[in-house]
Symmetry: C2
Subunit: 243 residues, 2 copies
């Protein structure tokens, strides 16, 4: 078992730097976008990188990524944060071995955090030249989000506190990358107890139209809402068609 290793001891289990990275995603202008900063120095000068940095001695990985993100955005605006995976290709970083634990972070729509000079949002579907393996991490974050939107209530992390079905539909469309029917969204999400009607309505725009009901997510805690019809325990209600 590893433990009393002298720092700097020259051995094959050399000291590897460990960093944290985050693909912070938000729906902006109808597109799913990721927060990137432009590297000024070599290596990879001019390429865009995910926010992150080195793990400190006394912090957990999650504390670390929150600390580094604080330099780019207001961390209180993060509605969700989860670990994606740890990257370990020995040559993923020139100039020395760097292990990296990647996170997925989400920011609700409608927030526009102040950003440093070198930092900007980019559509995940049109990434600029990215540094190291950061492009792949951004795409992995998008895929994790897409999967969880379908079988959990993770939508709460993309949506503002209250919203109309129309607005929610456009968030889902941006995140999933395909059209979503407002009709069916309105039936499915309340049936699954994801959405609750607030009772309020939003007045129509200048062009008219019926006022839209305002909804909110029932909870801001991640829950699995689609229990996979097949292979469920026998004898349950809701035994019908797959969910």
């Amino acid at each position: 078992m590893p433990m009393s290793r002298k720092p700097g001891a020259k051995s094959s289990t050399a000291t590897a730097v460990h960093e944290t990275l985050a693909a912070v995603l938000q729906v902006r202008d109808g597109e799913l976008q990721v927060l990137l900063w432009e590297r000024a120095r070599e290596p990879e000068a001019g390429a865009w990188a995910l926010p992150g940095g080195v793990l400190d001695a006394a912090e957990t990985l999650e504390e670390s990524i929150r600390r580094h993100l604080a330099a780019k955005v207001d961390v209180r605006e993060l509605s969700h944060l989860e670990q994606l995976r740890t990257l370990s290709e020995p040559d993923r970083h020139p100039g020395g071995r760097v292990l990296a634990t990647a996170y997925l972070g989400l920011v609700p729509a409608g927030i526009d955090p102040a950003l440093p000079e070198d930092t900007a949002w980019h559509p995940v579907d049109e990434l600029p030249r990215t540094a190291f393996d950061h492009g792949a991490v951004a795409l992995a974050g998008r895929e994790r989000l897409r999967a969880k939107l379908s079988y959990t209530n993770l939508g709460f992390a993309l949506a503002p506190p209250t919203f109309t079905i129309s607005e929610l539909r456009s968030l889902y469309r941006a995140a999933l990358g395909h059209a979503v029917s407002a009709t069916n969204l309105q039936r499915v999400l309340p049936r699954r107890r994801l959405l609750v009607e607030t009772g309020e309505r939003r007045g129509p725009g200048r062009t008219g139209g019926r006022p839209a009901a305002l909804f909110r997510f029932r909870t801001q805690d991640l829950e699995v809402t689609d229990q996979f019809a097949v292979l469920r325990p026998p004898g349950r209600a809701f035994a019908g068609g797959g969910g």
Copy 2:
């Protein structure tokens, strides 16, 4: 960005040892079991630990866990290996900080690998006293397996090359922890193109009974088979009830 850090430089980003761990699961005697070894030395002498060890300088995490597992089982018998998550609680290991990347490994039923003296299989539902946070990792492996059994073809990793529906049912029951109907398994899995009939049959036992058809999994590569009915793109076939 981390890179040109002198090994042994005294700083708050001290050198942390990185290890890999694996929850290797197999259905044995109708129960889901996990491979553990009994620690002879402190810390945690007498407690049971997951196999694993320190990450070497030039290897990836997956290479590392395969190398360490080779000391316990024949790695060729592993039908599946995937990363679970990286543990980073600063005090998860007494005597020094140890980051650990945990893997889930699976071994098909029917194989009984030779094991070292200190190593044994234990039912995941009745774990002995476990070392460090290894018990939680074993349970996390079980949960990952259960989820993926329901929406992927991961069953291939639990099953022998060919099997009857009955045998497969008992594997699923052990892994999922609840009864599974053979009738429905026989309809659902072929419909989802997970199973293929081999054409062969297995003779009945001494007590009689109709000979059972032998099946195999169509592929040994992980595939997502349940595409989550809701929020699928519009206009597709199979648009009906949820998958």
